[in-house]
Subunit: 328 residues, 2 copies
């Protein structure tokens, strides 16, 4: 079977590809594990660090129909559609957000629909679909009143994934990811970028700005658990989703204060001193509109897993990204 990953050069895309290469299989249309013969990584920049012959790196625009036609073929039986314009940028650049977060998603679903083999399509949605008046713990039955263009665009994608699945065009799954933390690499334009920055930078001996208050509730998932959730979300039977293919994934409920306390426990007080507290109203507005805690009964019952605590998230980051070493 052949797999397409959009956003294939990104953190999740590249990690997912590595894990799929190791596993070697994914569920096919009948739900049986089948051997992966090819993984196409599509992104605006080339995915790097792959030597496996099963990897096919393609650089291009996911909103370009000819590009999607090239990478999503009748042999493609699984699509992980991870590419997106992140929340802060989609708010600042409305047209770009609509084009990539919505139009490209629609293009991919249309192509998948017509490729003739009803592919499994995993679409990454977000907690940004929620907003407005929210309970302290958001249930699976929470009405969606997004307060950002990114959130609105993600819901529109969810609705298409759901309707295309209901009609039998594809076998889709829309997974609302918690904020992935600790992301390696450079900061990005996501309003949530700080959540990784305040851990990653101090561990590297670099100062980081925390633009929100210590009380800010956070709903997190480590890269390891995020990848496991994507693969589990792909492999389970579509009927497990019930009346909607959109699902809030289980995550770890914490606060910025608890994150920083865990950093001190794991890496010491000197590391924590590298966090500078400087509130940014624009980021606070977006982040505070997202829920910080959920009751994910559906996702739990479907077998999705969550990180145990933030200490273990930091430790897995140090292990996976820093070779076990910290700038003390």
């Amino acid at each position: 079977m052949e797999v397409l990953i959009t956003g294939g050069a990104g953190l999740l895309g590249a990690r997912l590809a590595k894990q799929l290469l190791e596993r070697g299989t994914l569920a096919d249309a009948q739900g049986k594990q089948a051997s992966i013969s090819k993984i196409t990584l599509l992104d605006v920049v080339p995915a790097k660090g792959f030597s496996d012959p099963r990897i096919n790196v393609v650089t291009g625009d996911i909103a370009d129909a000819a590009m999607i036609e090239e990478v999503l073929t009748p042999r493609t039986s699984s699509v992980f559609h991870l590419a997106a314009i992140v929340s802060g940028q989609a708010e600042a650049e409305f047209e770009l957000g609509m084009r990539i977060n919505f139009d490209a998603t629609r293009l991919i679903l249309e192509r998948a629909r017509h490729n003739g083999n009803k592919p499994r399509v995993v679409f990454t949605s977000s907690v940004a679909v929620f907003g407005g008046d929210l309970p302290a713990q958001v249930p699976d039955t929470q009405v969606l009143t997004p307060q950002s263009s990114y959130g609105a665009q993600k819901i529109m994608g969810e609705l298409l994934v759901n309707d295309y699945s209901r009609k039998g065009f594809i076998d889709g799954r829309a997974l609302r990811m918690p904020t992935v933390c600790v992301r390696p690499g450079a900061p990005n334009k996501a309003a949530s970028s700080f959540a990784s920055g305040i851990i990653r930078e101090p561990l590297n001996g670099i100062e980081a700005v925390c633009p929100v208050s210590a009380d800010t509730p956070m709903w997190l998932q480590s890269p390891r658990y995020a990848i496991n959730s994507l693969i589990h979300g792909h492999d389970i039977d579509g009927s497990a989703f019930g009346s909607s293919r959109a699902l809030s994934l289980p995550g770890l409920a914490t606060t910025v204060r608890e994150m920083v306390a865990a950093l001190e426990r794991v890496a010491g007080a000197n590391v924590v001193k590298r966090i500078r507290w400087e509130e940014d109203p624009a980021i606070i507005r977006i982040v505070n509109s997202w829920p910080g805690n959920f009751i994910t009964k559906r996702g739990d019952a479907m077998g999705f897993q969550r990180d145990a605590d933030f200490d273990s998230i930091i430790r897995s980051h140090i292990e996976d990204e820093l070779g076990g070493k910290v700038a003390g």
Copy 2:
């Protein structure tokens, strides 16, 4: 001020235009009643029966950007976007539904955004946004899990209206209309078409088929109350909507059995005998996925009104459409 009504040749569009001509005013951008100088009625067929010089009848495709550019100008300060592919047809013809119910809505909102005066845009949504596991009475906080393409497309329109309003591009309002009953004229391809047919046809001495069971719950609004809701929804201040511009309108909760009993009370047993009961699984599936009753606290608090009972709905139909006469 100038007004654009899409679907202007339809039942609601034409009635709305007549009522606006009588009223003569609508709220302007500042919320003050301003004189209406022009009402453009856009539809695929020409709107008929208007002699008032303020009426501008235009025939064309609402998904055609050049057409929208022609009818939605910088002088347009109010848009009632009523045109849609109805539920049954949108389910059967997926592309057509997407093009008219979603793409055309987006086109209209984009044009309104760039016309420079932040127009009020009233978008008609539907109870078809609901589906799946629903409580007996659907609250304003109900999560949306539509079970039809029409419902999904209407939510996508709601999300755009909401996001465009939040960003200050337009001043939009998305009103979820109950099933409008009794609709005059011919049956249409809406799954709910029977609700009017089983009243309208027998009153005209014609046999009508009821494709659903007598127990089917219905959530209704007469054409009179529908028009009043559209105008009220236009005129109230946008801030009254709170964190979402989408709103479920108050309606009358009844059942097909109660509707037929009211018909017998108002028009006699002979009229009721013209209803033939013949279940249609395709229609039952769609209609049963819609809720039949709501708790509309938000809409009630905002001053939207509902019909008192179905007897009065039938009587207003006889008065408005039949000149007070019934085929006994």
